[in-house]
Symmetry: C2
Subunit: 194 residues, 2 copies
């Protein structure tokens, strides 16, 4: 089994952070790699969109000399699991009481709404770093919260009520597809025999 | 309806290239934007992966001072259509007789094979520029060709036999989902009522 080079960082940080050392993005990337290596799901992080303005082509490898980060137009992760389209955004917060909605762009929320309206599986993964808790909240519950509240953050108790706690373990780190299996249990029957 | 700024380029080039002025990528991007604006499908081009090595954060907008293009690990386009996962790569060729396979990386072919094995819809869109013809070839037929041939290119007559010609028109430019409807006709019944 191959893991991205990030795994080393993990080993080092385990000591400090009670076996939850890596940041959420690294944990999800390793989890996705595990899913790919084991032929379970094909979910990837999209590259960060960058506007390239100057390139030096005079070398063997084209060298970008000037470029800018752009705002992503969709969520960070998408892919395929058991014939279903999977789409999500992942964020960490240092707050112990609420997840600030400023962390998710409006067009990302709109995108997730489109996904669920067209029968895809959309959600967000939110890690409360200080609480060592990582939640999966379905897009429908995210959208409902926003439509019914003026609050600029989603309180922890909304996650405790509506979201699913993702068990963190060694392999795979954040097994969010276990939650998806739990919610969409009937899906398994839809897998086509090859 | 909003179109990306590329549409202007189109108007200019119409004269020269017999109403097929834009390059394939621009045509597909406009088509995808049309699908999004009309609530038909949510398919996006993934950003080009770039390895950023030096950033100047001293300004208002972070300025990337050094970066390199990386090889994409998957295909360029993916998304959701009628509850189904869609995944494809698009390429142009100047050849009149065959599409050189060197244009598609081995790991992209492996990726498309994974997609179809997990019940996603995978394909390639190939435009023969000199012939003014754009084909949709299903990933299964791409994989079969590669497994059964030592050739380094797919001859035009394989496309004529196995692929689907995409009609090019004004709006949407390259209506590839029409072909998907044709092939997966029964899919329409799968749309969930909301």
């Amino acid at each position: 089994m191959k893991y991205p080079s990030g795994i080393k960082l993990n080993t080092t940080k385990n000591i400090t952070y009670n076996n939850r050392g890596m940041n959420l993005e690294a944990d999800i990337n390793i989890t996705n790699q595990y899913y790919i290596d084991n032929n379970i799901a094909f979910i990837y992080k999209k590259p960060t969109p960058i506007q390239v303005t100057k390139v030096d082509y005079s070398r063997n490898n084209a060298l970008i000399k000037e470029a800018y980060f752009k705002e992503p137009s969709t969520t960070d992760y998408n892919g395929l699991y058991k014939g279903k389209y999977i789409d999500f955004e992942a964020k960490e917060t240092e707050s112990r009481t609420a997840f600030p909605l400023s962390n998710i762009h409006n067009h990302q929320i709109k995108h997730l709404e489109n996904i669920i309206n067209h029968d895809g599986i959309g959600f967000i993964i939110i890690r409360f770093n200080k609480l060592n808790k990582t939640f999966l909240l379905l897009a429908i519950d995210l959208v409902n919260f926003i439509k019914n509240n003026d609050r600029k953050s989603i309180p922890l108790n909304y996650f405790e009520k509506k979201a699913y706690l993702i068990e963190e373990k060694y392999i795979p780190r954040v097994d969010y597809l276990k939650i998806i299996d739990l919610i969409y249990g009937g899906m398994k029957n839809e897998i086509k025999k090859k």
